[in-house]
């Protein structure tokens, strides 16, 4: 049961409406307009701007709060980052009025944008620099929907905090910096971005957050004076004392640890708008000793500790991801800012890391039922079944959390990329499924890559059939291809060309960020930025990875399987017929479409005839990307996840040989195309395990289940065994979606997209599609009741 306090805070968060706050943009503009920046280096300028923000931004303490600090002046008041990209007045109007995830823009915000922010930043944003830096070929591929670009409106981010802050206060960080600076004294420095400037900037940023914490402490004391409730008075004083102590000093209690983390979180997401916000990572590992000490010293009871953690949980939900400009809003229709809490996994010595706190946090997740933070469990061979079963019980409540990850695979992936075993074991997954070494790695996602569009271009001699524009090289006319190998050859050429474009572009973009938007505050917390005297965006971290995320593996594999089967093996039709029916989007060719859907090999059925194409495309993609150097001294790597981009990417691709209509979504992650798997989950998992997950930095697999499967202990055990087996085959991640009655209704409308839906009735299981309508209706009713 949630306490009254938590219920109130939770409701306040859920009911708060997204608003666009101009506060940060105004302060940023004031800073650059009024400060004398002559002769100051860019890192120092950025640090001073951060200091300015932390000094001037409005404080916000809500009724009943235990953890303080908001990014904006109120929950869900979301700042903008004009130095990165600038919203036009039209963008503001769209954000204000659009149906999905709108952000309210009041007249004052609009006015200050018109009067001050737009005039100052127009033509001076990082996005302007970035677009100007791209070749025309890059621009056309980008516009055709071959890839997206993450850094175009969001800063490089995707970093997860390690354990350092739980044992070290910022004053110690500053001491470290001072020592380094002393060592530099008198030494000549080379290069245009100097160590001294970087370190000085970091120091300014560290002091800025200490000052911000002190401002909060003062406010809390003032509030305590005014508050008439003696209990709250005490609480506020106590919170003030915490804010005087952290982040300057190391935390000693659970409350201090959480508040310290939260200040760091706020700093990171105020300094810039890094992709996927920021993330405490292995929270059960970090919090356990504080919790135990609090219990043994009588500072907390289990109940009060849970309440405190829940109060911390709400803070994440108060921060939607900063809204994009209208132009690219369609690329992404989600505004949660993916913070993914990791539970379980292994300790540095490889042993079972599941502890009391892992179970407490699972309870918190179940009770809070918030979109943010999101959560996952890491499962290694050494973790107990009871841990997985507990998590599966939450999964069955149908809100998609926690997702389930293979720790053993994560560690292997990190080792393959050259990380030390200790750093690997301190790692995990963030965002959706992305592997990283927590606290030591800058692993930056650069954008989604549309594998299906590449095959479409290969079938059109490099031309985008949507508008006749030449996007890729000329790789031959499709109707003249005499063997399946010709298609593969064309695909390989297109793929390498387009990936090279993307990689080249991202090297330039990384350089633009390194030179113009360093992040001294974030750099404090990622090892070895201080030791190297180098910014996070310049390559100061111990490991520096750039990821490209492949999208549409299942679809592209089915397309290839279909082309091979129909044009070359069974010769059911010629290439011209294929092009004709695709051009017609199957209208008038419904019978052929049925053949393409129902009588053609499909990825996801543990059938090598189909799956070999997925493996082939995956390997081509890997070869084209893996190990290519990035700007920051690290390398490009791949992972396979779409977030929601499979919808956008589908919208730019015409009808495809697997029977998919023009414009419809592509397959998701490494999951089979929606409904293409007809042999049940074990076959899906076997198919998915045919690609080598350990070559990636994460893969995403979604499995649909009707709620019946989770009904009893037996069902939950079987799901657990399914997970164990997939992980033994070194699968990276699996997420269970419990289907709702609405999904079942959709399956009645378009059965071809839901061939995989199995329903379980006591003693029988059957494919939903194979049932008569009356029975389907009954199952829908039953699902609705649950």
């Amino acid at each position: 049961m949630l306490t009254n306090r938590i219920q109130q805070l939770r409701n306040a968060s859920l009911n708060a409406i997204n608003t666009l706050s101009a506060e940060r943009a105004v302060l940023m503009t004031d800073f650059y307009m009024s400060s004398d920046l002559e002769g100051k280096s860019i890192p120092v300028q950025r640090a001073l701007s951060f200091e300015y923000l932390m000094e001037k931004k409005q404080l916000c303490v809500l009724d009943g709060e235990l953890i303080v600090g908001e990014r904006g002046p109120a929950p869900k008041a979301t700042p903008t980052f004009p130095e990165i990209s600038l919203h036009s007045l039209e963008d503001l109007d769209i954000l204000d009025s659009r149906e999905k995830v709108s952000f309210k823009v009041d007249a004052a915000v609009r006015e200050v944008y018109e009067q001050k922010i737009i005039p100052f930043w127009k033509g001076r944003t990082n996005r302007d620099r970035l677009i100007a830096g791209m070749e025309p070929e890059w621009i056309s591929a980008y516009e055709a929907g071959v890839f997206t670009e993450f850094q175009e409106q969001r800063a490089p981010g995707h970093t997860v905090l390690g354990k350092k802050i739980y044992s070290t206060g910022l004053l110690k960080f500053i001491k470290e910096i001072d020592d380094r600076l002393e060592g530099l004294e008198g030494k000549q420095e080379s290069g245009d971005i100097s160590e001294r400037e970087e370190l000085t900037a970091m120091k300014i940023a560290a002091n800025a957050i200490i000052m911000y914490a002190r401002r909060n402490a003062e406010l809390l004391n003032e509030m305590a004076l005014k508050d008439s409730d003696p209990e709250r008075k005490m609480e506020l004083r106590y919170m003030a004392s915490i804010c005087y102590k952290v982040p300057a000093h190391a935390p000693e209690t659970l409350h201090e640890a959480l508040q310290y983390y939260w200040f760091v979180h706020l700093g990171v997401i105020t300094e810039l708008n890094p992709w996927d916000s920021f993330n405490p990572g292995r929270l059960d590992q970090h919090l356990l000793s504080f919790y135990k000490n609090d219990l043994s010293e009588g500072r907390q009871t289990k109940e009060s500790a849970i309440e405190l953690i829940q109060a911390f949980w709400v803070k994440f939900n108060n921060h939607p991801s900063p809204p994009k400009m209208g132009v690219t809003a369609k690329e992404s229709s989600t505004y949660t800012d993916f913070c993914l809490i990791n539970l379980g996994g292994m300790k540095e010595d490889g042993s079972d890391a599941v502890n009391e706190m892992s179970f407490i946090l699972l309870d918190v997740i179940e009770e809070m039922r918030l979109l943010q933070p999101s959560s996952m469990i890491q499962v290694s061979k050494n973790n107990p079944d009871s841990f997985i079963e507990r998590a599966v019980k939450i999964v069955k409540t149908g809100y998609g959390q926690p997702s389930i990850f293979n720790s053993d695979a994560i560690v292997e992936e990190l080792l393959n990329q050259g990380k030390s075993i200790i750093d690997a074991r301190n790692g995990g997954a963030s965002g959706c499924v992305e592997t990283g070494a927590f606290g030591t790695e800058a692993y930056i996602l650069t954008g989604y890559f549309n594998l299906v569009k590449v095959l479409e271009l290969s079938m059109h001699n490099g031309v985008d059939p949507a508008n006749g524009k030449q996007i890729g090289p000329q790789t031959g006319s499709f109707i003249e291809f005499s063997a399946f190998e010709d298609i593969k050859r064309a695909f390989t050429v297109q793929l390498n060309y387009l990936l090279d474009l993307k990689i080249k572009g991202n090297r330039i973009i990384e350089q633009i960020y390194a030179e113009n938007l360093p992040v001294p505050f974030l750099s404090l917390f990622v090892e070895d930025c201080i030791a190297n005297g180098k910014d996070y965006n310049v390559g100061g971290a111990r490991y520096n990875t750039s990821y490209i995320q492949g999208v549409g593996l299942g679809s592209v594999s089915d397309m290839l399987a279909s082309l091979k089967h129909h044009l070359f093996d069974s010769k059911t039709m010629g290439a011209e017929t294929m092009m004709k029916i695709l051009g017609d989007d199957f209208i008038g060719h419904e019978e052929i479409r049925a053949e393409l859907i129902y009588n053609t090999p499909k990825y996801g059925n543990d059938d090598d005839v189909a799956d070999e194409h997925a493996v082939w495309v995956f390997n081509q993609f890997y070869e084209a990307v893996n190990g290519k150097p990035n700007y920051r001294g690290g390398a490009f790597r791949i992972n396979m996840l779409p977030t929601t981009s499979h919808v956008y990417f589908g919208s730019v691709v015409g009808a495809t040989p697997d029977g998919r209509h023009a414009g419809l979504p592509l397959s998701e992650g490494i999951s089979p195309f929606q409904g293409a798997d007809r042999k049940g989950p074990t076959a899906v998992l076997n198919s998915a395990a045919k690609i080598d997950h350990l070559k990636t930095g994460g893969t995403l697999l979604n499995q649909k289940f009707t709620p019946d499967f989770f009904k009893d202990g037996k069902g939950i055990k079987k799901i657990t065994q399914l997970i164990r087996t997939y992980f033994r085959m070194m699968g990276h991640h699996i997420q269970f979606n419990v289907v709702s009655a609405d999904t079942l209704r959709a399956a009645q409308e378009a059965p071809e997209n839901y061939q995989d839906l199995i329903v379980r009735v006591a003693g029988y299981s059957d494919y939903f599609n194979d049932l008569g309508e009356e029975l389907q209706d009954e199952i829908i009713r039953r699902t609705e009741q649950e």
Partner: protein, 264 residues
Amino acid sequence: MLTIFDIKRFALHDGPGLRTTVFFKGCPLRCLWCHNPESYEMEPESHNLVRLLDGKEITMTRKYGSLIKEEDLMVEILQDKLFFEESSGGVTFSGGEPLMQYKQLISMLKLSGKNNIHRAVDTSGYASEKLISEVAGHTDLFLYDLKTMDPEMHKRSTGVDNSQILKNADVLLDMGKEVIFRIPIIPGINDSEKELDAYLRFFEKRIEKFKEVHILPYHKIGSDKYSRLNLEYPLGPIAEPKQEHIELIKQKFSISGIEVSIGG
């Protein structure tokens, strides 16, 4: 070569763990409530199937049954070997009536045994004593149907006599085989007090020799298939048994040491 009509992976109701169930085609019985009418005849057959696509009805043919070589079938079963290992699952041979192709069944059982896979046979028990004991020599677990205890009713509702079936149950138990008895609860056929008492007496006498009973409540899920195959549904429209009644039956059978589960 043998004839099967389906292979179901991730089978959840046919024995312990995660299993692959192979459905043999052909059955000597004709249970009124049968939900696998496509298993009656041993010959593969094709039926028209109407599919809804883009708002149009498209007629396609659907094959029921195919001939497959024992080795090829084994390859398919082995695809889920890791899942069997992780869950103490295995393969279940079901049908139709797998004993109808007993030679092939025995070679499948032997092949599975060689590959260290747990083997279950789901049978109506309608076969000679000699045959069933031979099969038993290569089987780890029987899922043994007891459709009704009343000889008259058995004849009427399945088309065959149950005396040999009951005898064969004892043959298996006396061999020390693990047997799970499965009772489909069909309203009006085997759910009367008298009938349930007869089951209970049967179990009580053999209580030392088996541990588990599965109750499978009749579900009209099967009736759809009849219309798809253009067959008349012989049972006609009957109501599914009430949840409370099923619970009562479960309690009744839960005598010392017997584990009763609903739905397998």
